[in-house]
Amino acid sequence: MAALVRLEARLSRLREEYFRKNRSVDEDRKIVYKAAVKIQSWFRGCRVRAYLRYLSKMVILIQKWWRGYQSRRYFRKMIKTAYFIMKMNFYNEMAVRIQKTWRGYYVRKYTHNYYALKKYLEAISLNNEIVRNELQEYAEMNEKEKKKKDLEKKEKEKKYKARKMHYLLSTEQIAGIYNSPFRKSPDPMELLLRQSKPLSHRQQRVKSPFTYDLYDWPTCKRPPAFPTGEPLPPIGRQKPQGPFRDTAEVLRQRYKPLEPTLRVAASISSPLEKAREEMKREEWIKCIHEHDVLFTEKILIIHSRFLPFSSYHKNKKYELSIHASEKKGKETYGIKHFREVQPNKWIAGKDFQTVLPSIVLFEKFGKTYSRAGQIV
């Protein structure tokens, strides 16, 4: 009962309490609602984020694996190509070595002999030196000749001048121009004057009616000399004293040609005998005897076979015997074909100088049984 009373006492307040409670709940509702929304959204967000994280982790995993796979594939390919390139480089280098050696050998053997070229160029320089020296000597000789000629010309001129001016020679009384008393010794011209002979009167050059002043050509200075047929005999030659015959007569007799008589000119045997001998010779060749005249026609055909160089076999083809039709010598299979050597195309006569010791097996090539047909 006490509880009831208490409850009734609270009854009046119940409404207000109830109303206050609802009111406060109402008022909190918005806040609570917003809080609930916030909590929920945050939680959903967490969930979604966790999901996304999970997704991206998975994606990363897949991509990681996939990329790794691709790169490994690519790497494998790269390795393969690198290996291939390495191999090719190696092969190339080896091929270059072979080609280098072979080309050097071939060029030195068949195309270009470096040492011969060097010797040739040295020979050219030597020759050039010789030629230059000789030409120099020639030029000097020419110079000397010219100088000598000039000197001689001057000398001649001086002498001619001295001869012309010989009257300027000094006498006892009067000293000449070139012999001044104040000089210690006379001028060289004075000495020349003393030595020179005076010129005689100038000879008038007889001008033939054929020469003319305007025609002073360099090649035609003398009047024409008509060439005569044969040289005329010397005029005024004295006849030799004595009973000599005329010279011309003697010479004619001495060099008279032989005039053989008919008997001397003709041969010893008469023509008839000569013809007979000729016929006999022919018969001998043809093996025809005079007493075989009856069978002559029949055996002419047979005999003609035995005539040397007869034309019976003219149209028959000559058949080679077996021995002549085969090539002589060793069979070249296996020896010559695989290693050809053409000595006529070599440019240097000597073989190359060997530096390293040769391989014994290769040395035996071509030499095992006989020394025929090998490189010298």
Partner: protein
């Protein structure tokens, strides 16, 4: 008495004629009177005197005509149109030797001016008469006739053919053998004029046996004769290989080399021309000349002469070097390059310089050895300056460009290429840079030198279109050096550094 008077009149007339003709002859020997004489109508006055009764008047009239026609081509034409030649030619066969000489002189004087006048002479039948004169006893007549034939044959090949058809060549060969020097000279010069036009004419001269006699006369001391003989041989040899071989077979080597040392300039020039004409045909002939020491003689000859006299020698070296690399090496070994370089520096004429440049190009273009030999003389810089010079003629520039290209494409001698980097125009530059790009990747010392001499710097300054050959070469060169070095030398690097200094925040 009247008879005497009559005769006196004739004598006066004769004296007057003689005086007139002698005076005209005297006056016509001076060129300044020729105009006045022409205006006075001297040709028509001299024409009847040619047919005068008195031989002296005839001869003097002919001489006067010859002198007049010699100096002036109008007068020569007037001689032709004035119908003077036919009587001249007719009397050529009849009269005495002085008249023949004078008539030959007239024909020579008329024929020398132009081909048309020479043709006119041929048409009036002068050639047969002249050839008959060649058979005369007198050497002066022969000389005059040969000279006239030479002047006629000089102009073109038809006239030469006409001279040959008239049968002149065997007689000329006989003239060469005569003892008189002047006659030999003229005959040699006529043979030279005949054979210069075509191979057939040269062959005709050779068939007459001229080569042997010409070859013997090379030893003659007379300078003018040697000139003509060498010229004749070179005109024969220039046409074909066979003719050149025939000339060589006459054993002119090594005698011809003495001509190259002669004191007369023109003998040297003609000797060098002969050797050039022989050398240009084939490598075998050039080889033969080299073996005989001809190259050394020609090189000395070039060194001792000046001016156009050098030209054939220079061309001979070019031809010899052009045939093969062994011959080119022989030229180099005979010390051929220094005279050529000296020639480039000393000469003023463009065509001689062009020939020297061409010869250098032929020497240097074969292998790197040859190019090195040429480059070592520092001639490439001269070549470049000649190429860039605006005063050089077009021909010289073209030849220089070709020579430079040919030499540079084979040149691996870098110290000579360095100076060219700085001045060269783009088309030459590409070759130079190309050569550098070939050599630098393999040679460390060269690379160091390249950097220290400033070549790398210059390379960076070159602007090239991307994708062009020049750019490729530049890239190849840049890839030979470490990147910092290349950047260091690139233009504007110092500015870039300064910029970086400005923008730098110091870290404290």
């Amino acid at each position: 008495m009247s008879q005497r008077q009559v005769l006196q009149v004739f004598e006066q007339y004769q004296r007057a004629r003689t005086h007139f003709v002698q005076a005209v002859a005297e006056l016509s020997s001076r060129p300044q009177n020729v105009g006045t004489l022409r205006d006075a109508g001297v040709i028509s006055l001299l024409r009847p005197l040619l047919l005068d009764v008195v031989p002296t008047i005839q001869q003097t009239a002919a001489l006067a005509l010859g002198r007049l026609a010699y100096f002036n081509d109008d007068l020569a034409e007037a001689v032709v149109t004035g119908d003077i030649l036919p009587p001249l030619v007719c009397s050529l066969s009849e009269q005495n030797r002085f008249y023949k000489k004078a008539a030959a002189f007239v024909l020579r004087a008329v024929g020398k001016h132009s081909p048309q006048l020479a043709q006119a002479i041929v048409e009036c039948g002068a050639l047969e008469a002249l050839v008959i004169c060649l058979e005369d006893f007198d050497p002066g007549v022969k000389e005059g006739a040969a000279w006239a034939l030479g002047y006629i044959a000089r102009h073109n090949s038809e006239l030469s053919q006409a001279v040959v058809d008239a049968g002149a060549v065997p007689l000329l060969v006989l003239c060469i053998q005569e003892p008189e020097i002047a006659l030999k000279r003229i005959a040699a010069s006529t043979l030279s004029d005949i054979s210069k036009h075509s191979p057939e004419l040269a062959q005709t001269v050779v068939d007459a046996g001229a080569i042997a006699f010409l070859a013997q006369m090379i030893l003659n001391p007379d300078a003018k004769l040697k000139c003509q003989v060498l010229s004749a041989l070179s005109q024969i040899a220039k046409h074909s290989v066979d003719l050149a071989e025939l000339v060589v077979e006459a054993e002119i080597f090594p005698v011809v080399l003495t001509c190259l040392k002669d004191s007369d300039e023109y003998v040297k020039k003609n000797g060098a021309t002969l050797i050039r004409e022989i050398a240009k045909h084939s490598p075998e002939l050039s080889q033969f000349i080299v073996n005989a020491g001809g190259v050394a003689a020609v090189i000395d000859c070039i060194g001792s002469c000046k001016g156009t006299v050098r030209l054939p020698g220079i061309m001979m070296l070019g031809y010899v070097a052009a045939h093969s690399e062994n011959l080119s090496m022989a030229v180099i070994v005979s010390k051929g390059i220094p005279p050529l370089c000296a020639c480039l520096l000393e000469e003023h004429e463009d065509h001689i310089k062009a020939a020297a440049v061409w010869a250098l190009g032929q020497i240097g273009r074969h292998t790197p050895e040859h190019a090195r030999a040429v480059a070592e003389t520092n001639v490439l810089a001269t070549l470049l300056s000649m190429y860039m010079d605006i005063h050089s003629s077009e021909d010289l520039q073209l030849k220089t460009k070709r020579a430079l290209k040919n030499i540079l494409q084979k040149c691996t001698y870098l110290p000579a290429l360095e100076p060219l980097l700085h001045d060269a125009p783009p088309n030459i530059l590409k070759h130079i840079v190309g050569q550098f790009s070939k050599v630098l990747p393999h040679d460390t010392k060269a690379r160091c030198l390249f950097v220290t001499t400033g070549g790398l710097k210059k390379i960076q300054e070159i602007k090239a279109e991307p994708g062009s050959l020049l750019q490729e070469y530049i890239n190849t060169i840049n890839s030979c050096f470490p990147e910092e070095v290349v950047r260091y030398y690139s233009p504007g690097y110092s500015d870039m550094l300064l910029e970086r200094v400005e923008n730098y925040q110091p870290v404290l």
